[in-house]
């Protein structure tokens, strides 16, 4: 039984066998209630969390908190790779628009083509609300895959005559949104550049 529990923990990203054993031994020392609460919350997380119908952010309802909020600026859509980016950008407190979570970036070598991402729903969303959307902000990682995805999205959005911008580059050395500190990230969201200026270079 101990072996099975250790096995499950070591399946988690970033957890090796040693750490898994330490976590299991820690749980063993706790009151039964504590462990019950722990496993219950894990189970509910998986069972009750759904993805927002509009932006694919996690949610407890059909539409997520951000999409439901009347205080958010619905004329701005910030396109990000995954949840971690939403959290990072929310933490800056500098952005008050909406999101669209792609669920990754295009990389055929990793088996991810455009149709595996939430791109079609983004285009539909833009087509449907194009009178109300002022700007789509691309906030993907500055890797070649991120650039390729930006380029693909730009071409898809272009026919709808909506402004497309990218967040200011050179955020951090690590380059990934997740690692950028809040101040720099906040600044790069405010100082974004129109995509067209970028490809002219």
């Amino acid at each position: 039984m101990l072996q099975a529990a250790v096995e499950e923990f070591s399946r988690l990203p970033g957890i090796g066998k040693k750490t898994a054993l330490r976590l299991v031994l820690h749980l063993l020392k706790q009151d039964q209630e504590v462990v019950a609460r722990f496993s219950d919350s894990m189970l509910r997380l998986r069972q009750e969390v759904v993805y927002c119908r509009q932006c694919h952010n996690i949610s407890d309802q059909d539409l997520c908190e951000i999409c439901r909020s009347p205080r958010r600026d619905a004329s701005l859509i910030c396109v990000v790779e995954d949840l971690r980016d939403v959290i990072a950008i929310e933490n800056t407190g500098q952005y008050h628009g909406m999101f669209h979570v792609l669920g990754g970036i295009i990389s055929p070598m990793d088996g991810i083509g455009p149709s595996d991402l939430n791109i079609e729903s983004l285009i539909e969303r833009i087509a449907k609300h194009k009178e109300n959307i002022k700007e789509v902000i691309l906030a993907l990682s500055t890797t070649m895959e991120g650039d390729t995805t930006n380029f693909f999205l730009f071409r898809k959005i272009k026919p709808y005559d909506v402004k497309v911008s990218v967040i200011a580059r050179g955020i951090a050395i690590g380059d990934e949104l997740e690692y950028a500190d809040e101040v720099t990230l906040g600044r790069s969201i405010i100082n974004r550049t129109p995509y067209e200026n970028l490809i002219k270079k």
């Binding site: 149709s115 070649m144 390729t148 380029f151």
Partner: protein, 389 residues
């Protein structure tokens, strides 16, 4: 054009920096338990039968320049059998100043590389500081091997002076790999989407075009230098040529990518682009690969590497160390003498040579009257035979 300018600039305007290896010490490196050698600033020769370990000495010198072996990519396999670690130490003289290089490899530990007692954080900071060109039997792959060997050769020379080139090359290769994966994905899913493919087409075209133009420019400068060296080696009796082949020479790259699309979809990989470029080597308009004698092929390779040497020298502003590993076989005496006379010139720096015949080396260097030191190598034991000033 840039390189031509550089050639002129360095040849005429800059006083050459002189660099040479003064002393080499080995500890448990391959078949050497412990050894220390002092070198001449010009020619140094290691004579011995095959299997005595003379090439291992060149390996050690190569290690100090490139932080790795030229024949074995696994560091720990260079540790003497049954031992835990090896050390290589080299004392260099660069423009009158002495530099000390140290390389240590211990089993199950990372490699330690130091310059003047200070450890490098990144080995890439070291590579290029003590330039070296190796000419060895392995070079035959340049003629006999696949086209990737020849592309690697030109890419290696160009990236030394053009940093953008490397950037374009990396981006091109990545776009190519993604495009090929995309073509496979279409086949697996039985679904084709032009818009997805076009993003990679465009990347390949932008970077591919830059690479093509740089390779073409490079050849215009490289060919005369190569021709000059081949002429010296052959006594000027043979007409040689190198032809750069690329589909991009014939027509517009963008057009080609578009036209190849159906073929690419069937093949499930990209059939046109600079990843298909090749070089063909000719002697008297006949391809060397198929018709050249072994002696001609060898002279061809040596001329190629000497031309590479010249480019490296003019970029760095000083003469790299030159290693000749066992290249005298299959070369007639005349060519060997021409070659050694050529590299005894001041524009070539320190030279290391291995050969199986001690007497051949002794009479050769006596004849060309070059400053030299000859060592006899016998199963891990080295003795100095002669020094000539």
């Amino acid at each position: 054009m840039v390189i031509l300018f550089a050639l002129k600039f360095f040849t005429f305007a800059r006083k050459p920096v002189f660099m040479h290896l003064l002393k080499l010490s080995l500890f448990n490196f391959r078949n050497y338990p412990e050894i220390s050698l002092e070198f001449s600033s010009k020619f140094n020769c290691f004579a011995g039968n095959n299997g005595t370990g003379k090439t291992n000495l060149l390996e050690a010198i190569y290690y100090l320049s490139f932080c790795k072996s030229f024949s074995n990519p696994t560091d720990t396999q260079n540790i003497m059998f049954g031992q835990d670690m090896f050390m290589i130490q080299g004392q260099y003289k660069v423009n009158g100043q002495e530099d000390e290089l140290y390389c240590g490899v211990k089993r199950q530990q990372r490699k330690v590389f130091k310059r003047n007692q200070k450890e490098y954080e990144r080995l890439s900071d070291h590579i290029g500081l003590y330039p070296l060109v190796l000419i060895s039997p392995g070079d035959a792959q340049l003629i006999l091997g696949g086209s990737d060997e020849r592309r690697r050769f030109i890419d290696g020379v160009i990236s030394q002076y053009n940093h953008d080139y490397l950037h374009h090359l990396l981006n091109y290769n990545k776009a190519l790999a993604q495009r090929n994966a995309m073509l496979k994905m279409f086949a697996e899913r039985r679904k084709f989407d032009a818009a997805s493919l076009e993003i990679y087409d465009e990347l390949m075209i932008v970077h591919g075009q830059m690479i093509f133009e740089e390779r073409k420019r490079f050849f215009d400068d490289f060919l005369p230098v190569f021709n000059k060296y081949y002429g010296v080696l052959s006594g000027g009796t043979e007409r040689v040529n190198i032809e750069y082949q690329s589909t991009l020479i014939e027509s517009d790259f963008a057009q080609q990518v578009l036209e190849a699309r159906d073929k690419d979809l069937i093949a499930q990989y990209s059939t046109v682009g600079i990843h298909k470029d090749d070089l063909t080597f000719f002697i008297h308009d006949v391809p060397v690969k198929r018709y050249g004698s072994q002696g001609q092929q060898k002279s061809f390779l040596i001329a190629l590497k000497l031309a590479q040497y010249t480019f490296t020298r003019d970029i760095k502003g000083f003469s790299p160390i030159l290693l000749f590993d066992d290249i005298f076989d299959k070369l007639d005496e005349n060519r060997v003498e021409q070659l050694m006379t050529l590299v005894s010139n001041d524009t070539f720096g320190q030279v290391f040579v291995t050969d199986t015949h001690l007497e051949r080396l002794e009479s050769l260097f006596k004849k060309i009257k070059a400053e030299s030191r000859i060592f006899s190598v016998e199963a891990g034991d080295i003795s100095k035979v002669s020094t000539q000033h």
